[in-house]
Amino acid sequence: MEGVEPTAHAVPLENVLREDELGVSLSHEEALSNAPKTTNGLFVVPKIVE
């Protein structure tokens, strides 16, 4: 195993980047639509800090 490089993924791609162009994204409502609990457009979870 000496000198064998690890394979993280089997494709000849590195640092795949694109221009930071604005595209379509989920609306606020869509993004929250499956949440178990929301309030004021936020996800609600049990209290994190005392």
Binding site: M1, V4, E5, P6, T7, A8, H9, A10, V11, P12, L13, V16, R18, L26, E30, A31, S33, N34, A35, P36, K37, F43, V45, P46, K47, I48
Partner: protein, 485 residues
Amino acid sequence: MMLNSLTIHQLTERLNSGEVSSRQVTEACLNRIQSVDQELNAFIGFDSEEALSQADVADKVRANGGEGLLLGVPIAIKDAIAVKGHPLNCASKILGNFVSPYDATVIQKLREAGAVIFGRVNMDEFAMGSSTENSFHGPSRNPWSTEHIPGGSSGGSAVAVAADECVASLGSDTGGSIRQPAALCGCVGLKPTYGRVSRYGLVAFASSLDQIGPLTKDVRDSAAMLQVIAGVDGRDSTSVPETVPDYSSNLTGDVKGLRIGLPKEYQVDGLDSEVKETVSLAVESLAERGAEIIEVSLPHTEYAIATYYIIATAEASANLARFEGVRYGARVNGSDPQEMNSKTRGAGFGEEVKRRIILGTYVLSSGYYDAYYLRAQRVRTLIRQDYLKAFEQVDLIASPTTPTPAFKIGEKVDNPLQMYLSDIFTISCNLAGLCGVSVPCGFSKLGLPIGFQLQGRPFGEVDLLRCAHAYEQATDWRNKKPKLD
């Protein structure tokens, strides 16, 4: 003639000539589901009205001179692929009432091609399994013998096609999850090269191994489906900007001079003699048509399963961390987020999923990462090198798809390691980043289908499909149908 039993190309001919309508074929599929799915359990859900209205749209488009490679064809979708407005559950309890707010790229492509996206089909939970017994909805059954498994994880996808409940389906393959159920159910299952098809909208199991692919009634249909779903996608940075060739026009039936490799390490102990015999006949058939058969060696084959179950579970443990009831899915409350997380996951995940998450977390943990995960990645390099070296001598590699025909439902659930061994011939294809296809090549004495697998070079689907098609056309297996009713 049962419209639902037609292939995509047969159906398209009749749709174009006006002999049948998309509504009629969609109705035929829905009727078929009514009559057989109670027992087979391929479909987790479907919306008849919505499917029929898509069919009507397709019929109108066609009447107005519109076109599409899959115009009006009803296609079933594995429950791991996002379809806007449809539930998405990965056959798990943990996703609760999740309804997808977006379409996966492959679904967008199917829509652009005019397909009728219809129904969600069963799978092993989060694609973890080889039998579709790990589903929250119970197992799907092999249409050739309902006491037997259909394979997994894309079991529902294979059953739906084999039982003519749809014309074609989409599945996903991480270690064989398209090819193995295709083999066990007697249909064609294609795993495209990693990066050939966008994973955007596929719920991730192992991000360096997953690939979406078609399950179809014949190879021509597989080529048509691949044509539609292949292509680089800006939303999947692991998709490769490789040109998409014309797969269908390359199905010439010619295999003269094609060099086919038989790996000597695939003569494993657990290989069923009927499978061995049947697959040999398939190889002979290709030799008779001019292919050259050459023995090759893939020396690291014996490490493939261990390598896979370290890498795949490690990646899965990371990918499934998101299911904790915060932003979506079912939630079990707790006094703090930590408790909510562990209660939600404890209640929501099935046993096999938990097993793999624990295993994956362990191999990535501090002190063990080098010994397990990193080491497995090195073995992965060696496995890939084995194949690339073999492909210097041959164009394709042939083998059985599975070591045995389908086993009985319940037979291996108590022995997960035994279950893992059934992936021996399919797993390396994902590790090495190749393409692979399973085609029917016969039946066991009990009447269970046997699959013949071809593996090709990365982005070598043209040769892969050409060879598979040539073999298929020299036989009659695709016209055999299971006896249901």
